[in-house]
Amino acid sequence: MRATVVLVHPSPTSFTHSCAAAAERGLQSAGHDVTTLDLYAMGFQPAMTDAERQAYHGEQPVIDPLVAESVAAVQQAEMLVFVYPTWWSGMPAMLKGWLEKTMLPGVAFVFDKRGKVRPGLQTVRHIVGISSYGSSRAYVKAINDNGRRTLLRALRLNTGWRTKRLWLPMYSIDGSTPERRAAFVASVEKSMAAL
């Protein structure tokens, strides 16, 4: 299968980057084709501009070349893998903006004759999220995991009900030991190889 990995972290030496590398290795070992979008390295601009907002419902909503690259990577994907740190119980602004600018009408969803929204990403068979959290599992559950909900529910409404979902969370990372982090990275590789 063709997999698109969306990697979001400002620092190339981050734990998030280790997780993404493990996911790539796992996917490749299972014979999948991997395309990685490293949003910070690409210099992606997450804030939707006035011009982009005006063009959103028009014929040509893609203005930014990095958005065009992202749209192409999403449209060919059968697996979407998101790797990011959870900040403020959600996605970093970088990933939130990528979602807003890439998941456009005509890409992620289409309007039918009655003006209802229909899924546009029916080729996507798996959505995977790999995220680290400063807080404990109990706190994340109490406060709600908005990044997870946005990707596994809101985005899944645009891929169809048959899309399988997988979430790999690393909770309480702030107080974690190197051994626990290494074990998580190894488990990411294994889970991805099993997809």
Binding site: P10, S11, A47, Q54, G97, E100, I143, N146, T150, G175
Partner: protein, 194 residues
């Protein structure tokens, strides 16, 4: 009440801009002391950088670039967020304001050896969200109302213990009639004046 309004929409001709105007009229009717932040007009940079990340837990960080936003946040007793809900949450621009301004030493600190954050915005007693949703209330419920929870749970946890949150939302705005939109603006004016 000292009220900080944070507004986020790229276009001044949008319905959300009209919602901002109604918000400000309501606050004026209620005789609140108001400061307004327009993130797009300011050209705010929403990207939490590698440098921000490296200084994440440091004590003496130079924050001159965002000093005004920090000052406003510490000043206010009531926070009002005005934005369109996109993909079930705050637009990236507003999420970036949270990521970059609600930082260590401003919104929270992590005392040495502790695992829980200590809230620093105890002076904020009220958070109000005024937002529009393209989709229906049912779809938003299915999606989990993530944006609502970010505010009423995550942000609120760092404010006053008795902080009240208010959610003023218009659903299905994409297919709404002019009358419905006018009614919503009226509702916003009345609610903010209270």
């Amino acid at each position: 009440m000292k009220t900080l309004v944070v507004y986020c929409h790229p276009s001044r001709e949008s319905f959300v801009a009209a919602v901002l105007d109604a918000t400000l009229e309501g606050l004026r009717d209620g005789e609140h002391e108001v400061r307004v932040t327009d993130l797009y007009a300011d050209g705010f940079d929403p990207v939490f950088s590698a440098e921000d990340h490296a200084n994440h837990l440091a004590d003496d960080v130079d924050r001159t670039g965002i000093a005004r936003y920090i000052e406003d946040l510490r000043w206010c007793e009531s926070l009002v967020l005005v934005y369109p809900t996109w993909w079930a949450g705050q637009p990236a621009m507003l999420k970036g304001w949270i990521d970059r301004v609600w930082v260590n030493g401003v919104a929270w600190k992590l005392p040495a050896g502790k695992r829980r954050l200590k809230p620093l915005l105890r002076s904020i007693h009220r958070i109000t969200v005024v937002t529009t949703h393209g989709s229906s209330k049912i779809i938003n419920a299915l999606e989990g109302e993530g944006g609502k929870r970010t505010v009423t749970r995550s942000l609120r946890a760092l404010c006053s213990r008795t902080c009240r949150t208010h959610w003023i939302a218009m659903y299905t705005v994409d297919t709404s009639t002019e009358l419905q939109r006018a009614q919503f603006l009226h509702r916003v004016r009345l609610r903010l004046a209270a």
